[in-house]
Symmetry: C2
Subunit: 250 residues, 2 copies
């Protein structure tokens, strides 16, 4: 149990360090965090929109979707969180959750109290910056999702989502861009791309028939990365993967 927690915290620290310069001391503070492990079955809500909670959820294993729902029931997935992601760091700055959270597959999360996180950022200014920057990165992904559903047709949309997830899993050292595990169902992917599950199915078939990418029971295999990038009109700049910015100082 202890090793599971520390592995998860290491993944989280790794994600932060990819974009922010942290001192050894600060990384140590991150790794010293503790929380409560929660196992969540597939297809169950972790949090509802508007809920007030006093902890953040670090994904240890599985896949978590943030979503908003219309009165009609139509669901739009806003964000996908993979192991090593904190699903809702922005909760530190907001009294209640801006969107619902649902486990798409069997998932385990580590709940870390806001009080602990706040204590940490009071001590280490570099961590404030890293957390804030993490929220900015999430916003940049959101902006690209607006472009995705707003200005790409179904094929490009699905291809783009797969490009993004490929690089994220690769960056998190959980597979490569050529092959990774994405335990989301077709209805889930439809909700993430603003399509219906029927049309998403047809779109995946097109990408498979063109020998670009295929998905079998959660396993995504990219046969032609170049073609995938081309059909998605994918430019990874928005993911801010270019390494840490200059340290935060005057």
């Amino acid at each position: 149990v202890k090793s599971i927690k520390s592995a998860a915290l290491r993944n989280f620290a790794y994600r932060l360090v990819a974009r922010s310069s942290l001192t050894e001391n600060e990384v140590g503070g991150l790794l010293d965090l503790d929380g409560v492990l929660k196992d969540v079955p597939a297809r169950t809500d972790i949090m509802r929109q508007g809920d007030n909670v006093d902890y953040c959820s670090l994904v240890v294993d599985g896949l978590v979707a943030g979503f908003r729902q219309r009165k009609s029931g139509a669901r739009q997935i806003i964000q996908l969180s993979i192991p090593g992601d904190m699903t809702d760091l922005s909760l530190l700055m907001s009294p209640s959750s801006g969107w619902g959270m649902s486990a798409l597959t069997r998932t385990t999360v580590l709940r870390i109290a806001h009080a602990d996180l706040r204590r940490l950022i009071m001590i280490h200014p570099g961590i404030v910056e890293a957390f804030w920057r993490d929220c900015v990165v999430d916003a940049s992904l959101l902006a690209e999702w607006v472009v995705n559903v707003g200005r790409r047709d179904a094929t490009a949309r699905v291809a783009h989502l797969l490009c993004e997830m490929a690089l994220r899993y690769e960056q998190a050292r959980q597979g490569s861009r050529r092959s990774f595990t994405l335990p989301a169902t077709q209805p889930d992917l439809a909700d993430a791309t603003g399509l219906t599950s029927v049309h998403l199915n047809r779109t995946l078939a097109v990408l498979r028939d063109r020998a670009i990418v295929s998905k079998q029971a959660g396993q995504v295999t990219v046969h032609d990365w170049g073609e995938l990038v081309a059909t998605a009109d994918f430019n990874p700049a928005y993911m801010m993967l270019d390494g840490p910015a200059v340290p935060f100082e005057l």
Copy 2:
């Protein structure tokens, strides 16, 4: 000139204070900021995606759109900034601009150096929180835009955008939700909603014919706010207008 600047800074402080508790001292620090006023003609780029700048832009007057563009040229507007908004506070956490900025109408912005803003947040921890929270609010708007283009039809989409802008102008004390000035052309609104300008025109016609809302040369008149909210499936919770959260402390 001096009074223009300080009015703009007051508007900005007002926006922050609506969601964050700041001390008098901190507000004073904000109001003491200074920068360079820039006049920008209508339909001109302020910043291109990927540009590196060392200042943030506070909208003094006019309307600024943040957008991303596909290789094909298709443009998606990501964000609209009205007077009192800082267009790109997130630049403090990112080496280069994640999206382009364009003035939709004749606009004047106040450029404030990153160094000055950083100096301010080094001194006042409450301002760090306020800035960070401002980025979180922007992300929440982005999330709702994903829902908008992903899961609403054209009528609801346009209605929703108008609801959001109505409350924002009202909140910023620049008109009321029944009547406000939105100096965006129909092609602009189309780019913000993921529609074509032709279809946006027809959609506006529908809303006008139903006596819900009409737009004449930048002036938006809401004839039936309840109907507008209903057709938009609008729930303002995501705008975080419920006043300041508890002050930031342990």
